[in-house]
């Protein structure tokens, strides 16, 4: 993951910027063994992320427990506690693999069809320009109200 962020691979050009808080994040990358003691903090962090939220499970440990599969203290895959969107295989994955996972996640988000007005305020639903025109023209406002 550090290699993917560093100069040679440069995650920033895909628009992946690390954030200091889960409250500012869209994607959570689980990049390591999930032990049972850390399971509840991970669920808390997941709940702290704003919707819509996505999870990338990176590496064999996070995917299924990896070499610690028979252990007494390891959760056998982070998908047992939170939903996962993209799995990256590898132990550890190459930086290209993580970048490919982000590209795949972007494709997945592109295919998502949000239901109308789901989780959106009117200004988010219509866009700020439409909202501005709505305030100007009573007819347009009436049309949009019919649409809804």
């Amino acid at each position: 993951m550090l290699g993917a962020y560093a100069a040679r691979f440069d995650f920033d050009r895909l628009g992946v910027i690390p954030r200091p808080s889960p409250r500012q994040a869209d994607v959570m990358i689980v990049a390591g063994t999930v032990v049972k003691k850390m399971a509840e903090p991970i669920i808390t962090i997941y709940h702290q992320m704003p919707e819509p939220k996505f999870v990338i499970s990176m590496g064999s440990c996070a995917n299924c427990g990896g070499p610690y599969y028979d252990s007494y203290s390891v959760v056998k895959g982070v998908d047992k506690i939170i939903p996962v969107d993209v799995y990256v295989a590898g132990c550890p994955p190459r930086p290209e693999a993580l970048q490919y996972a982000v590209i795949k996640l972007q494709e997945k988000i592109g295919r998502l069809a949000p239901t109308r007005q789901a989780m959106a305020s009117p200004i988010q639903e219509k866009g700020a320009r439409v909202w501005y025109r709505m305030r100007l023209s009573p007819n347009l406002r009436k049309d949009l109200a019919v649409c809804n």
Binding site: K37, Y69, D70, Y72, S73, I81
Partner: protein
């Protein structure tokens, strides 16, 4: 190497000390005690009189036979692509003939004398049923977490420890996972 004078002094003060020859750990002298009752005396003498002022680490060994894999969850997520009857990689080891298996937990203390550049190991055995050794927290503050870890993973009770609680495993894990006969009870994450 431990100076001969120190060994002579130890032997003079405490009868029943067993010096392990050949040394089991990298040529450092190991002193085996007959029981936990002498531990504080020997350690205090090593610290105050013989200059072994630094506690390197405390560790413990369960000397019961090979690990019993019955207790482990071998295959929590059945793999549909595996052929019928195939197990994952865990195979139970047969007991090694001639190996000194016994119903004992051995607690090992490593002490260093930096001035004399020497290190000594003190070994004391307790029973597996009710393992109890005195705590060294009043001699070294650093013994605190190490004793809690041994208590957590092997179940050795350190008498006199002010805060003997689990330190590593979560509260819902029952038993002591590094014991050879540990049986894992399925919890909410299995």
């Amino acid at each position: 190497m431990v100076p001969d004078a120190a060994i002579a002094k130890l032997k003079e003060r405490f009868s029943g000390l067993q010096l392990m020859e050949p040394a089991p750990v990298k040529g450092h002298l190991s002193v085996k005690l007959s029981g936990p009752s002498k531990l504080i005396g020997v350690i205090k003498m090593l610290k105050d009189e013989l200059g072994y002022e630094f506690l390197d680490f405390i560790t413990a060994v369960d000397w019961k036979g090979p690990v019993d894999l019955k207790g482990y969850i071998v295959n929590p997520n059945p793999n549909p692509f595996m052929p019928e009857g195939v197990r994952s990689q865990m195979i139970s080891e047969p007991p090694t003939p001639g190996f000194p298996y016994r119903e004992a937990i051995e607690v090992i203390y490593a002490l260093s004398n930096w001035a004399a550049k020497s290190r000594i190991f003190v070994r004391v055995e307790t029973t597996r049923g009710d393992p109890r050794v005195p705590s060294l927290i009043f001699l070294w503050k650093g013994a605190d977490w190490q004793e809690r870890e041994i208590f957590d993973l092997l179940g050795v009770v350190f008498e006199g420890h002010p805060n003997l609680k689990k330190i590593l495993t979560p509260d819902f894990i029952k038993g002591h996972p590094l014991r050879k006969d540990y049986v894992h009870i399925k919890d909410k994450y299995d």
